[in-house]
Every structure is written in C-alpha cells, then in structure tokens.
Symmetry: C2
Amino acid sequence: MATINEVAKVAGVSKATVSRVLNNRPVSTETHAKVMKAIRELNYQPNAQARGLSLRQAKIIGLIAPDLLGDFYGPVIMGIEEVLQKNDYNLIVSRARSKEFRLAKMLKEKKVDGLIIATPRRIGEKGILALKRDNFPVVVIDGNVGEQVCSVEVDSYQGAFQATEHLIKLGHSRIGVISSPYAFKESRDRLRGYQEALKQYGLLYDHQLVREGDYTMASGEQEINQLLQLEPRPTAVFAFNDSMAIGAIHGLFKKGLSVPKDMAVVGFDDSYVAKTIYPPLTTVQQPIQEMGAVAARKLLALLSGEETAITHITLQTSLVVRASCGAGLYK
Amino acid sequence: MATINEVAKVAGVSKATVSRVLNNRPVSTETHAKVMKAIRELNYQPNAQARGLSLRQAKIIGLIAPDLLGDFYGPVIMGIEEVLQKNDYNLIVSRARSKEFRLAKMLKEKKVDGLIIATPRRIGEKGILALKRDNFPVVVIDGNVGEQVCSVEVDSYQGAFQATEHLIKLGHSRIGVISSPYAFKESRDRLRGYQEALKQYGLLYDHQLVREGDYTMASGEQEINQLLQLEPRPTAVFAFNDSMAIGAIHGLFKKGLSVPKDMAVVGFDDSYVAKTIYPPLTTVQQPIQEMGAVAARKLLALLSGEETAITHITLQTSLVVRASCGAGLYK
DNA sequence: TTGTATGCGTTATCAT
DNA sequence: ATGATAACGCATACAA
C-alpha cells in the first residue's frame, strides 16, 4: 500500500499538496494533474486510520442488537447501511450479550462515532444514560428510554386501531386479542388502539377477550385455545405480532378450523413469514427498514453538528390486507 | 477522553511505561499499581485508531453480503460476530450493491484486516481474485470461486441424498424435484444426490419429474402445478430451498390438495419459515450460523499467520423431519 | 498556490 | 525496569 509520502515523491510535490487535492482544496490545475497521475500509478488509497486519528472521527457507527436471528434486525441493518453508505460511513454490528454494557465501551475504544441501540430492554436504561453523559451520540430504535435520548419508534396505537377497525368493518363484533406482555409500553399502546376502535364503533370492551402472550408462536397457539373456549366464541383475533398470529393459525388448524372462514386472524409486524404462511397473513406493517434509515440519518445529523436537538420520531404503520382476515385475495 | 500522555503524567511515569502495563510487559509491581490507579481515575480507554495505525491492523473484519432481508444472512452474521467478539475483533457489515467491487476497495481503505464474502455471484470472480493478488485475506461463504480462495460451504450432494432417501423410505417412488437454476453448481450437486439415492434404491430416474425453479415462492407454486399434470402424478416433491417448497404448498392448497396426505413436501435450508408454515416443513438443515463461525475462525487464523493454507471446508447437513413429509409429528 | 512543521495517540527501538 | 524518541499516515496552521 502506497502512502501519501510516496505519492508526493512521485508527483514531485509535498505531501501537504497531495492532501489538498485529496480533500478538494484549491490547487493549480497542473499540480492537480500531476498528483492524480501519481495516485493512479501507485494505486494509492488513503489510510482511514491515519485520517481518522488526525480528524478524530472513525467514519464508523455501531449498531447494538440483541440478536440477528429473527427477521426484524435484517431490515434494520439494511436501512441503516443504505444511509451510511451514501455518506461514506461504515457500520459495525455487534450483539449485546448478557449484561454487557461493556460493549459500548468496547465500541468507544474502537472509536465508532456514534451508536444505534436496538435493545434498550437488555442494555438497560442506566447504561444508555451513561453514554449520554459521555456525550456519545446515541439513537434508540423501537424502545423507550425516556426523554433524554433520541429515539425512533412505530405508532403502536395507530397500528392497533387500524387492525381492529378493519375487522370491525368486516362485520366482526367479538374480536379476541393476543397481546404482548403487558409490561411493555407498546403492549399498552396497542391495547388502547384496540379499545378506542371498539368504542368509536359502539362496541363493548370485554376483558375476557384479551389474553397475554409472550411473542412466541407457542403462546399464540396456547392463547387461541383459551379464546376458543369462550361463549360465544370470538370470530376474529388480533395478535400483537406475527409469530403469535401464526401460532394461533396453527392451533386453529389442529382443531380442524379454517382461516379465515371460522376465524379471521390479523397480526402485527409484517415480518417475512407473514407472506409465507397459508393463508397469507393480514398484518400491521412496521416500516422496519425505514426505522433503520431514519435512525441513521438522525445519528449522522447529530454527528455533523447540524442538528443537536433530542428528537423522538414516530413512524406510521399501514395495514397490509392479505387473506387471513377474509377480505384479501389469495395471492 | 484521556490519553496515554495524561495517564503517564498522573502516574508520574513515561508513556512508554504506561504502554507496557497496557500490553502486559514486565513492569515493577509498584509502578504497575501507580499506572493502574491513574487509568482508573481518568477512566482511560486506549484509542483504537492510534493503536491500529501503529500496529497496522484495525482489529476489524468486513462482511459483504447481497442483502440482509432473508433469513440466511442473519445467522451468518451471528456466527461470525460470536467468534470475533471472543477475539476482540469487530465486524463491519456491508451490502454489495450492483456491480460494485469498489466496496472491497472502500473496505481496504478503511483498513479492515480481512473480508468474508457471502456473495460471490454478484461481486464476480475476477474481483475476488484481484483481492487475492493484493494479499488481502479473504474467505468465501457458500459460493465457489475456484481453488485460489478459501471457502466454506455446505455438502449439497449429501443433503439432497438424505432428503431423497427419506422420501423413498417413506414409500414414495415418484418424487418430483423443484430445482434451483441449473447454472449454479449447488443445483447440480443436489441433483446428483437425488439421482444417486434413486439409483441406490433401484428407482428409475425420470427427467420429467425435474423442474427448474428460481428460488422464489412463486416459482415453487408454478412448478408444482406442472408436476401435478404428470401422469402418473408424483406423490412427493423435493424443493431445493424452503421458499420454493412453501410456494409448492401454497399451490397444492389452492387446488384443494392436502399436505402431506396428497403430496409429501421436503425443502432445503431449514430457514425460519420452515417452522412457521403449516404443516411444519421437513427440510435439509444447513448449519448457517456455523458457516459464519467457521469462516470467521479461518479468517482469523489467516490473519494471525498461524495458518496460511488455502482450505475449502465443507459442512454437513442434517435432515429435520417435521410434518410436511408425512413422517413427523405436528409439533 | 505551495512547502514546512507540528499534532493526532499508540507502539517500538534504543539507550540508560 | 524505565525513559527519550522515532515511526505509523494523514491533516492543518503557519510561512513563504
């Protein structure tokens, strides 16, 4: 690998001049040509570490996520990476293991310029606030850690409202809910959306129709069986994520029931599996990739200093109507 | 952020000494204590860029993948990251867009120490060979780019053999195939596995039973419809990935047919969706996460210089029996 | 416009 | 065992 010194020597100028053409600063046309020629000849590529050391920036940002197995973080990474690539930044992906807040330190040592955290529940609020204290630019995705730190999340309330309203308009009046753990804020938001839709359409809220799941397929199957015992039986069910919705569908199938004929099913997420299940799942789409992109843009704005405000961005959901609710086509 | 100089000042020693305790070199017990005390007081963290510049290594490796949307690259990243984290390396994830081999250059500039490439078809063989020419440590995942470059892949032949054998033992003698594009080596390997199983069990190979798909759900649905027209109709179908298997299941359902009663279905990959489809899909499991881990370990070995040989590692598959083939339980 | 000199935070070489 | 000092490769303030 050639260095700036060798380029300078070959071009017959000082390395300061080479640095100038590298950074588009005023240089005479002739010297510019000479330097460019030398750069091409030597196949020169500036050393990012040296530049970073001098400029005090790594041009890298870090993403911390709990795991990469599901189909949530893939799109998040895509969204982030796309924005970063356009701005000549790179992305370091790191998994948050156990109780390690050490990670952030590791990244700090590594000189990432900022952090996107997609796992507030695990890393713990105090850890994130500690980062703020060190003036470390941080954006949180899909989790609430208070007013202090930038966040981007999805409008859970509105998504649940849409889903419920859709089922009501389809003629359902007894709509079961398989909720995520009540301890999570998003669960409560979605529950509010469900209740508000009921209310607006003059339907009564029946707490027996609401079951608490844990986001897994197994719990979806378990809770649908509970709902099935109710009298009269609900004719539709709204699960707070796709996995539980699919678990519910499995449970219904095992009982010989048909979806959507015997029971309409709506999920939340529009994960990859929503399209692959049969019948294709009607679900509330989260703009996951865009969440990543928005978070990345915010972080970049923070880094450039052109935008220092702490913001809390809420993205809108949209209902994707497929077949599982009885309204969509089998496609 | 405190620097090594400040630590030296506070501890009342030279920065060389601080560097020594940092790198576990012989230092008197007392000075060691003094330095450690100063480090704690100042909350000092060595600057990775400066260290990297001095040592000529970034302690970062790069992964280039075509996209992160599916459920293949998530586990790959997990596998890589786990190994790297243990060795104090970080992972930069980058998406290979269009024809950009520029990416590698960008990473080179950024001083990643090595590269794992998970998209040989897109980035092009010549690009990878160019990297070799520059002595850039490279490991390729799941693609063949010739003898020159390290690779880790899956034993396609064996996987296909297992799947076919399983169906034969279940009593099927006319087994349809929905293949991946014949242009890919893995397709030909899997086809060989299929044929060899047939042969070993005294079954005749009928080329009409083999259809070429393109890895999408849509093509799975399309090709199953073709197979359905055959006389006599096959009683089982083996798709070369899960998406096509699921597409086939959708096609069968739309025709009112039952899986596995009317048609047994086996896939390949054991992707996330294999578990979520109903009935759960019997499929050939690829040890995806392990592929990432193995690739990472190989790259690290290359980097440390303790292992310079070009290796081609083949990992074994295993058949996961679920319900779609008629042998497994609905679980 | 161009060159010189200095700093960025480490590690490493050579003395002592 | 410890301390100066020179790299590492780049950017930049200051001179010319």
